[in-house]
């Protein structure tokens, strides 16, 4: 009850603030007007905000660090926001931000889930704040329908699933049995990554998928499931494909407990423990989306538009919702990723979309 009323209050607040802004200021358009009047902001007035789930996740902490690196590059600071994976709290934080001064506000947001994206987008549009979202958005929500939602960046799960599938096939010498640990089955990431594995299997005909089970992206569940699969398939298992690194690490524990060191393991996400395991040679491969770059790029796009170096209408439609490049990490290149750093040139206003692998399909 309390939450609802506070929420409603916040919403009314935002609406009022938006209305006031439309009335008083010319730069910050709202209510569907031709917002994004570029070039309005003095670089020093730009306010940079990065929002992720929590800092206890190394990937998301690295994301915010990348945002800080960009902010430093342009002589600003980034406001670091975390919402603990709680959708309600994310919306409250966004409402609060949008209720303040939104004229030169740039937000780089990781929405908690697909359904959390529309209210954030609508709010930013009304308040005239520049917004870049990453990973999650409903398929039918088009970035080009909005003026201040500058871009949505995500990664092609089919591609990463295929990359590690191929790496695994190579590691087991091109033939043999593998088992797959899927993520939470009703998430897009799990579906896409598994589809990628299936593509890889179609290409590597001598690799046989013995079994696929879900371990819900969890290290502890992966441990139990892998033990069961090892007792079911025994020596036939030559490789384990996991839809994320946490599960891959759980599988590594199970292998250790079963006394098996002849099984190749691959994952996705490039978490620090997985990188260590790849350095040690216990794990074969993972895929990195480059968290620090993600933290910087969203702010960079917003900053470039806010300061007028880039006009929204000049951003090509295929750069409004796009797949960014991801990197396969194996033992030979793992050293480059152990302490990832951002590259200033990636965030230059004429180089923002250089990592695009094409528009989201």
């Amino acid at each position: 009850m309390k939450f609802t009323s506070r929420h409603t209050a916040a919403l009314i607040g935002v609406t009022l603030a938006a209305a006031t802004l439309t009335g008083c200021t010319e730069e910050a358009g709202g209510g569907g007007g031709p917002a994004a009047e570029t070039g309005a902001c003095d670089p020093a007035d730009v306010k940079l905000v990065g929002q992720v789930r929590n800092e206890s996740n190394p990937y998301e902490a690295a994301w915010l660090d990348g945002g800080d690196a960009f902010a430093e590059q342009v002589g600003l600071t980034q406001e670091r926001l975390t919402y603990d994976g709680d959708s309600t709290r994310q919306q409250e934080q966004v409402s609060q931000l949008l209720a303040g001064d939104t004229e030169c506000l740039v937000m780089n947001v990781l929405p908690n889930g697909d359904s959390d994206t529309p209210p954030i987008v609508e709010g930013a549009q009304e308040a005239g704040a520049y917004l870049v979202t990453q990973w999650n958005k409903p398929a039918d929500l088009n970035v080009t329908d909005y003026d201040t939602w500058l871009s949505h960046i995500t990664y092609d799960g089919v591609e990463s699933g295929k990359q590690i599938g191929d790496a695994l096939a190579e590691a087991i010498g091109g033939s043999g049995g593998i088992v797959a640990l899927q993520g939470i089955l009703d998430t897009g990431a799990a579906k896409d990554r598994f589809a990628g594995l299936e593509e890889s299997l179609a290409a590597n005909t001598d690799v046989e998928l013995l079994d696929d089970q879900t371990a819900n992206f969890s290290r502890a569940e992966a441990l139990e499931v892998t033990k069961t699969l090892l007792s079911k398939h025994g020596e036939d298992v030559k490789g384990i494909w996991a839809a994320n690194d946490d599960m891959a690490l759980g599988a590594l524990e199970a292998l250790q407990q079963a006394g098996r060191d002849d099984v190749a393991v691959v994952g996705i996400d490039a978490v620090p423990d997985a990188l260590t395991a790849i350095q040690d040679g216990t794990m074969t491969a993972t895929v990195s989306s480059d968290g620090p770059w993600q933290g910087g790029i969203g702010l960079a796009i917003g900053y470039c538009v806010a300061t007028g170096e880039l006009a929204v209408e000049d951003i090509a439609d295929e750069d409004r919702a796009w797949y960014a490049e991801q990197f396969l990490i194996e033992q030979d290149n793992v050293a480059d990723f152990v302490s990832p750093e951002t590259d200033e040139s990636d965030f230059a206003c004429d180089n923002l979309f250089s990592r695009s692998q094409g528009a989201m399909s």
Partner: protein
């Protein structure tokens, strides 16, 4: 629990005072073990992989952590309370133990002492739940949910952004080394079940936990001060969760904030499947242990016979509901208190 009818409450006291197991085997006690045997038999027929010795070892090893959590939660359920604090307490103790034994974050190397501290941390958090219940009169559902959040908070603070990986050979060895074919972890779980049974049968704490679940008011009227026993039961449950957090850490060689994720409901499920009633006053540690085996055999068996992962969740749920229904059929009248 809150006196349905005078006469009813009167007749329950007799039952509650003397735990079922002492009076030979009744139909209601036999249900879950029969269900276990039947399910085990069905899987054994369907899958040659399931009936191997290594898989039976695997099932017992996989049941270890759940068994320890369920030992704790069973006492709380016997009292007619509910306990949702397992995820938080396990998370806190998992991170605590990972930081106290040899690890990659600091120079600590306290070994068994570190394990003891983690278990004590669990007991302290459990004690807080109990105190909030009896002093502040907050329903156990809410206090334990709150304590779970507190535990996760403590765990997140200690986590501080870098995952502690355990390098302590003793703790890692618990999961890897075997004695009579079973991992040391599994023997620890067996010891926990034995301790639980002894406490339940032979200590005042265990007997009163039953009595409180059966008829708390009558117990109060007979001059027993109930509150300290309630706090003690929650404290003991907390200690079991703390130990379970340590076991998860040993299995994963790493302290995870999410070490106990999902264990609250799987433990309640296991206890109820085993015949411990949510209304209190019935069941016990051995019942719950059977429930744990049943749930674990089910999880393992569905994978072994090759049920598609897309179907497993639903199938597992259906079988659990059917098993509970079969197990509590003889106690239908009493069970209806649970709406």
């Amino acid at each position: 629990m809150t006196s349905p009818a005078e006469a009813d409450a009167g007749s329950e006291v007799v039952n509650a005072g003397r735990p079922q197991p002492r009076r030979g085997i009744s139909l209601s006690d036999a249900g879950p073990p029969i269900a276990l045997v039947v399910i085990f038999g069905v899987f054994a027929v369907l899958s040659p992989d399931f009936r191997t010795l290594s898989n039976v070892q695997n099932v017992l090893d996989a049941a270890a952590v759940l068994a320890v959590v369920t030992c704790g939660i069973s006492f709380v359920l016997m009292m007619g309370s509910i306990d949702l604090s397992a995820p938080g307490i396990m998370g806190a103790s998992a991170i605590a133990v990972a930081l106290l034994v040899a690890n990659n974050r600091n120079d600590n190397d306290f070994g068994l002492f570190g394990v003891a501290v983690a278990v004590l941390l669990g007991a302290a958090l459990g004690c807080l739940s109990g105190l909030a219940l009896v002093v502040l009169k907050v329903p156990s559902f809410m206090t334990t949910l709150g304590i779970s959040a507190v535990g996760l908070g403590v765990a997140t603070l200690m986590f501080a952004g870098v995952q502690p990986n355990v390098t302590d050979p003793m703790l890692e060895g618990w999961a890897v080394e075997r004695f009579l074919g079973l991992a040391h972890l599994t023997w620890i779980a067996v010891a926990c079940v034995l301790v639980g049974v002894l406490v339940q049968r032979y200590s005042r704490l265990g007997r009163y936990a039953f009595a409180i679940g059966g008829a708390e008011e009558v117990l109060g009227l007979s001059g027993v001060r109930v509150a300290p026993y309630k706090v003690a039961v929650f404290t003991m449950a907390g200690a079991f969760y703390g130990l379970a957090g340590v076991l998860v850490t040993s299995q994963l060689s790493a302290g995870l904030v999410q070490a106990g994720k999902g264990y609250d409901f799987s433990a309640i499920t296991a206890a109820v499947v085993g015949g411990t009633l949510l209304t209190g006053g019935r069941g016990g540690i051995l019942h719950s242990a059977v429930g744990v085996l049943l749930v674990t055999v089910l999880t393992n068996g569905l994978v072994q016979v090759g049920v598609s992962p897309y179907w497993q969740g639903g199938v597992q749920g259906l079988i659990v509901v059917a098993a509970v229904a079969a197990a509590v059929l003889p106690q239908r009248r009493r069970n209806q208190v649970t709406k």
